[in-house]
Amino acid sequence: MHAGPLSTVQDLGRPGFGSIGVAPSGAMDPWALRTANALVGNSDGAATIEFTMSGPTIAFEEDAVVALTGSRFDASVLRSVGGSAFERDVDTSPAPYQMSFRLRAGESVRIGPTLSGARGYLAVRGGIEVEEVFGSRSTQVAAGLGGRVLKQGDRLAGGRADDAPLRRSRTTSAYRSEQRVRALPGPQREIFVAGSPERFFSSPYRVTTRFDRTGIRLEGPALELNRAPDIDPEGVVTGALQVPADGQPILLCNDRPTTGGYAKIATAIMADMHLAAHAKPGDTIRFDRTTPDVARAAWRELEDSWRATIEDIE
């Protein structure tokens, strides 16, 4: 296979090991992962491939049932005609999106650049088989823990083709290059100069090229600090917005460190992290101030709407 810039095996992650320094990891857009699994008839948290900005090309050695979800990418199915491996003898057709489809042994899926957001998912009926580490097949890229970072020439095990019916989701997702993400202020408001939190909540922040599964470095009006941003290191949650000395916030994502020693100006709500997951360099994020009650209600609504999506799959 060709790997793409960052393609990893992910499931729903391994929460609960923060006290030994292990990040939760897992799909940056867990809803897209769950939809992909539902489309191929897998359990909710089966391991899939998450790809970033551009995807892998994967040749299937056996028959398979697969689905692509998340952001829409320029993806095709390659079928060789007349048994030749030469490109001119290959029949190329657009790969279905948000619906499962069958591949025969010898066929390939080629996933090119994204057409909307940063991340897409490929699920295979039967799931991707890599070793479980702390109950999860997710890849923690920075620590080299669990899962797999795909490399050119890798072979992956998994999959189970059968006569399962093909399914389609009627819900499609469009990711905007100007994203709104809700956040709660604090907890280190007092370290920031008066007016900084207001500036944070009223200005667009641009996604820089330094964005990965650990964090998204943002660029915008600098958030001034009263003193050095160092605090006694404390546990952090996904969505925390740390501000180092340069005043530019970093949105911590699923492969984040488990503790952090920088002041945090705000924390993005969990229900909106899947939107941030699709932000690309050059996109902007605006943070809207909200309350804990709204944040929890938003998560429950997301779960309800996901259940509706699943019921709508036919």
Partner: protein, 203 residues
Amino acid sequence: MWQGERGLLRSFQGPIAEANATARAASEALRAEAFPEVADVVPGARTVLVELAPGAEPSEALRRALEAEPPTAVTAEGSLHEIAVNYDGEDLPAIAALRNMRPEDVIELHMSVEYTVAFIGFQPGFPYLLGLPEQLAVPRLPSPRVKVEWGSVAIGGQYTGIYPAATPGGWRLLGYTDAILFDPARTPPSLLAPGDRVRFVRA
């Protein structure tokens, strides 16, 4: 104090060693309660972070446990680990220069005390060790290295620590150890646990 809608953070004031012992004890007590709405409990230098499951509200019992008088810090001593170090880190001359000391004195001073694991953070198995002699407290590098070798023994502010895996890092490098700090296949996976004691010796 809230960190987002999922994080409940309790801080303990006072000198760092006492505050840390209380944070460790509070963390253990909260973990032992196994509240169903809690996804994780993470001790920090002087804090305990309770992370709620997504969408979950804290129960009355959890709120009471978090506000309760912190348990008396555990007095039982943690296990003692000897870590053998080759003191030939890239930043040893710079640390010595910053502190107006000879490199040899930096090494002697680093080996002269017993450290306590305050918490495990940053990366799997990375110990933050308290007890660094004040003369050795040096600020982190202005700009972190892209890659620090696994086993690097380093100083960051008032802490000394060990990088279990090759990662980016901003601490100043004193030397290297062969100790395996973290192995997911081992029980327990982390060599060191909060409250454990560490002594550095020459390899």
